[in-house]
């Protein structure tokens, strides 16, 4: 069964929200568009995105008890298979980056000064990464030599993590899918190995010969 890879978008500007959502569609990610931190947190109760794009400035957002920091903290603590792009006009400011880093140490930054095309380009590159003989393509993990596809979104998280040099922390249900991926890799004779690092951390490594 396919679990479509999803992408959370938190953006208070409707026009920008629409453009980023369109970019997600283009790379075969199912967008979860939200325009306030409260709504983003609600969606994170039931959804497990592989990518999140967060605007820091919520001045146009409807009233929200939570702030963007709460969304970052939730993503960091409970969505270890989700890679976070902070998309903001203040993303270039070092003190701002440090403030975000304190909440989510792995957050990556794209400046709004570089335009939405820079963000879309970043998303495209992330959603086309390769690791070993695996390739993220159309929101799925493909084994290039055989053309076989691993359908669960956890595969995308793991390949993205390997390409970005980050570990992936999985929830129990996702860990089951990761174990299925391990069997899939073994069956295909892939040199990529899924390593259980303990504490629900997983990573892909290349078997050395």
């Amino acid at each position: 069964m396919r679990a479509p890879a999803q992408a959370l978008i938190l953006e208070d500007d409707p026009e920008q929200l629409e453009r980023v959502a369109a970019a997600m569609h283009e790379v075969q990610l199912e967008p979860i568009p939200t325009n306030s931190p409260d709504r983003a947190l609600r969606r994170l109760r039931y959804n497990h995105p592989v990518l999140a794009v967060l605007d820091l400035d919520m001045s146009m957002a409807p009233d929200s008890e939570a702030g963007v920091e709460d969304v970052l903290a939730r993503l960091y603590g409970q969505h270890g298979g989700c890679f976070v792009l902070v998309y903001s006009v203040i993303a270039d400011e070092i003190l701002e980056r440090k403030r975000i880093e304190a909440v989510h140490p792995f957050a990556m930054f794209v400046s709004k000064h570089d335009g939405v095309e820079a963000l879309i380009d970043r998303i495209r590159r992330m959603m086309g990464v390769r690791f070993g003989d695996l390739h993220v393509r159309r929101g799925l993990t493909m084994h290039e030599p055989s053309g076989e596809v691993f359908l669960h979104s956890v595969g995308v998280s793991l390949v993205l993590g390997a390409a970005l040099g980050q570990e992936v922390v999985l929830q129990d249900t996702e860990a089951k899918a990761a174990r299925r991926m391990r069997a899939w890799l073994e069956r295909l004779g892939s040199p990529v190995q899924l390593v259980d690092l303990g504490r629900r951390c997983y990573a892909l490594h290349l078997v050395e010969t």
């Binding site: 070092i94 040099g165 922390v169 390593v195 504490r199």
Partner: protein, 206 residues
């Protein structure tokens, strides 16, 4: 080496009850008044080698606690020693690098760099560490020369990052020796005065 050998993993000090997200693997903790050195390192240090985290002197203890079990490496640029730093370093094998004159009282023998570019170059060299075939694994752990992945050897990872050795007292030597034994890595601990360093185990010792 086949996949079977690679999948054999050693966890001498595995603790399943530890909170997952707080254990983020190797970290470089940068202590400075303003986070400029941190920003430079974060752009240049491959996260697969270590995550770079930032702490102003007054934040050291709080940020240190988020680098479980302790930072892999400490980099600093402050003229004054943050008050808790000596106690936090304790007997842990943590290489210390300093840009500019290190503050009085800084424990061990820090590697001193004239500017941040020297520090970056030193950190980049760590990415290629190879001692008798033992190399750093991405994010945490070690690659054994026989292909095994060896996890939970934080003491070894720390000392490996200081090829010239570290001034270590207390129980650090015993902890490192225990990790070498449990992981069956071809390494040996060598002591010269109060400096401990890792060296290649000679074939006849194996």
């Amino acid at each position: 080496m086949g996949a079977g050998a690679a999948s054999e993993m050693i966890r001498p000090s595995m603790r399943r009850d530890e909170v997952g997200r707080e254990s983020i693997g190797r970290t470089i903790l940068v202590v400075e008044e303003q986070p400029y050195l941190w920003a430079a390192l974060r752009q240049r240090v491959d996260p697969a080698l270590a995550y770079v985290r930032s702490a102003a002197p007054g934040e050291v203890a709080r940020v240190w606690r988020r680098c479980r079990p302790w930072p892999w490496l400490l980099a600093g640029a402050t003229p004054v020693l943050p008050p808790e730093l000596t106690e936090l370093i304790g007997a842990h094998p943590i290489p210390v690098h300093w840009v500019g004159q290190p503050p009085a009282g800084l424990p061990g023998s820090p590697a001193v760099h004239r500017d941040w570019t020297e520090l970056v170059a030193a950190l980049e060299r760590l990415g290629g560490l190879d001692l008798n075939g033992v190399r750093l694994l991405r994010n945490r752990g070690l690659h054994a020369p026989d292909g095994r992945i060896v996890l939970d050897v934080v003491n070894l990872e720390g000392l490996l990052a200081a090829p010239a050795g570290l001034v270590l007292n207390g129980g650090a030597g015993e902890a490192i020796a225990a990790e070498i034994d449990a992981s069956r890595l071809p390494l040996r601990l060598e002591r010269q005065g109060d400096v401990l360093r890792l060296v290649a185990e000679r074939d006849q010792e194996r």
